[in-house]
Amino acid sequence: MARKRERLEVIKDILNAIRENKNIKPTRLLYASNLSPQMFKEYINELIEKKFINLDVGEEDKKTFSITKKGNEFLEEYRVIERFVENFGL
């Protein structure tokens, strides 16, 4: 049985998918994130709220996601953050 991903790991996976696929569409990101639509919505709202990603609306109401500077910083420091949270039981 596959192990359940930790929250920080899910966030890392979403951000990585956005970084690797510039202007990724919501449906493609949903598949890439491997989450249920409900969970996906929650994570996306959280990431937008925390300014990790932007939701860009283009021509004909075309929605795409892009990663912010803060999101990139998170990916750079992901290992340190993960280790800190786990080692201090936060």
């Binding site: 953050i81 280790r83 949270v85 786990e86 080692n87 201090f88 039981g89």
Partner: protein, 225 residues
Amino acid sequence: MYPELYNFVAQNRDLFRFFYSILIAVICFIVFLKTDRLFRISSHQGIRYFRNAFFFYGIAFVLRYLLAKPIYFELMRLVFEFFMIMGGFFLFYSLLWKKFEGYKEISSLFNLKIAIFCILTGIIVVLDYLWEGYTFMFISQIILFGFASIISYKNYKSGGKQHKFLKLYFCVMILNFIAWTLNFIFSSFFGSRLRWLANVYVLNVIVFLIFLYGVIKVTKKDNKS
């Protein structure tokens, strides 16, 4: 055991109090700066509460140094106690927040749970002011670190093999619990004699140094836990 050493410390009491307070304040601000950076990147509420704990402890120890001066002694004493107790609450809540909050980013100072801690702290400070001592602070912190020890023991049992600092973190919580208990006993039954309290000061320095060691070690970029 070391009478000469105790006499030397007793003769230079203010100097030692100054260095003790400043040393812990400096440790707290280093921990604060390191964790503040991590919080700004991650927006993780647990890191935020942990960071706040050391900010409050840092302020408390700066104020503690000022307690050596007779001017505004009573006011400083109240403010010192407030920051000290709130530091304990923040550290305790950093272990518990997941059970009470979602992952939405909310203010770590202006939310209901923290408001409850503020009110409790206010009550403790007022009671100690009326009873002219620190008894209520000691009791509150002994209870708090008793529970924190249990929680950190559970964390260690569930993830201690992969994350080595969890074991040390549990030990730190136990040391904190012992330090507060000894502080209470020495202050209440031995008339705050320096001979006894010096042991608590040493224990406190060890506790904060372990925190600093843990934060530096864990936040090192190329390390693996």
